[in-house]
């Protein structure tokens, strides 16, 4: 499967008021440019978990409802 990492980045972009700053925070947390993710980027459960934790910090929510990534496209 592929594309879930990009979905998380798109989720942050859609939800954050300052999109680029939010993505920059993600970049700093994971240590590389997450904007390079595409629909074809292979899924990586470990990185996905890290991204989800970072997302909940950036969007200031206690947790991110991961089911939305499974059920529907953003």
């Amino acid at each position: 499967m592929a594309g879930r990492l990009k979905q998380i980045v798109d989720y942050v972009k859609a939800k954050a008021f300052f999109k680029n700053m939010a993505v920059a925070q993600l970049n700093m947390i994971v240590g590389f440019n997450v904007e390079d993710f595409t629909e074809e980027t292979p899924d990586d459960p470990e990185l996905e978990q890290k991204l989800l934790e970072a997302t909940s910090i950036i969007l200031r929510s206690n947790s991110v409802d991961t089911t939305i990534f499974k059920k529907e496209r953003l």
Binding site: Q7, D10, K13, A14, K15, F18, K19, N20, M21, A22, V23, A24, Q25, N27, M28, G31, F32, N33, E35, D36, T38, E39, E40, R73, L74
Partner: protein, 337 residues
């Protein structure tokens, strides 16, 4: 506390973009045909391609894109002088719109069917940026089509090369052959060249009056930036292919962003044309150049020429030059008639 921490993280990026913008402004002051924004951007692309580690710049770049692009567009609006648009002839308005369509269609067809560049987003970005105001337009278009860094790099390189080729071709090849009078030559420059700095340079070869006319026409083209950004978003959604479709929520937020920056751009333009604030337009200019230079530098810093496909980059540039040739022929024909 959170804001202070964010600013601390953003400081390196902000300092680098400020220095690039300031350096561009200083270099441009040395020779009147050089453009500060263009130089700031060029410096950033070179630095971005040299730097191996850019993570320390990410937050500053994010601040530039999220805060300085809207501020820069407001300041851009203060410089366009809507009142002067009254001096533009109707056929020039029509040609500006026609040229926009030509840029899109020619670049799309050549890239897609001749050069086999299957990523239509590159063609749309290239067409839109060349039709409006080059590098500045690219910076504004990025969120509307969720453009990737390699797509932006390819577009920016094609804009720079097309711009330089077209400005010299205009004065040293076209003008000696067709010998246009001042008004027509200035309109030709304002209608066909991509960067505002290059329009100034090409018109400046003739006279200061030509620069004023050309810039008025060019400012009208620039004002189409938001409608074209929205058009790009829908073109990319409909014809970009499944792989490049933007998620619905992102598209919605891009539309809201578009309305917001259009409000800022035209708000600045109206405020500084029809109110007593118009007297401050010239004093704002250096601030505008520094702020907008920083936003262009932030886009340039993410570029890395070494990481993009050289063949695609050359072909994309070639299609952009061909599109300019077509636009130049059509414009000349209409102007001469």
């Amino acid at each position: 506390m959170r804001i202070i921490n964010l600013l601390k993280l953003a400081l390196p990026g902000l300092i680098v973009t400020f220095l690039l913008s300031f350096l561009g402004l200083q270099l441009a002051a040395l020779y009147h045909l050089m453009d500060a924004l263009f130089l700031a951007f060029l410096g950033a692309v070179i630095l971005g391609s040299i730097l191996k580690q850019k993570s320390f710049l990410f937050m500053g770049i994010g601040v530039c894109k999220d805060i300085l692009i809207p501020v820069g567009l407001f300041l851009y609006g203060t410089q366009v002088g809507i009142k002067e648009w009254g001096t533009i002839k109707f056929d020039v308005f029509s040609l500006a719109v026609l040229n926009l369509a030509i840029y899109f269609v020619v670049i799309f067809i050549i890239n897609r069917y001749l050069f086999r560049i299957l990523n239509n987003r590159i063609s749309f970005l290239n067409g839109g940026a060349n039709a409006i105001c080059g590098v500045s337009a690219t910076a504004v278009f990025i969120p509307f089509i969720d453009a990737k860094n390699d797509e932006v790099t390819m577009t920016l390189i094609s804009i720079v090369v097309t711009g330089l080729v077209s400005v010299f071709a205009t004065w040293f090849l076209i003008q000696p052959v067709v010998n246009l009078p001042l008004q027509e030559y200035a309109e030709f420059c304002g209608l066909t060249l991509n960067q505002t700095g290059l329009v100034k340079a090409a018109a400046g070869f003739m006279s200061h009056d030509a620069v004023n006319i050309a810039i008025t026409v060019k400012n009208f083209r620039t004002s189409m930036i938001i409608p074209v950004a929205l058009l790009l978003m829908f073109l990319s959604h409909w014809f970009g292919g499944k792989k490049y479709k933007m998620p619905g929520e992102l598209r919605k937020s891009a539309v809201i962003y578009g309305v917001f920056i259009a409000f800022l751009f035209f708000g600045g333009a109206l405020l500084f044309t029809f109110t007593p604030l118009s007297g401050y337009t010239n004093s704002i200019k250096p601030v505008f150049k520094i702020v907008f230079g920083m936003t262009l530098a932030s886009v340039g810093l993410l570029c890395n020429i070494r990481h993009v496909s050289k063949t695609k980059m050359i072909l994309n540039t070639l299609s952009s030059i061909i599109a300019w040739v077509v636009v130049a022929i059509v414009t000349l024909t209409v102007i001469k008639i």
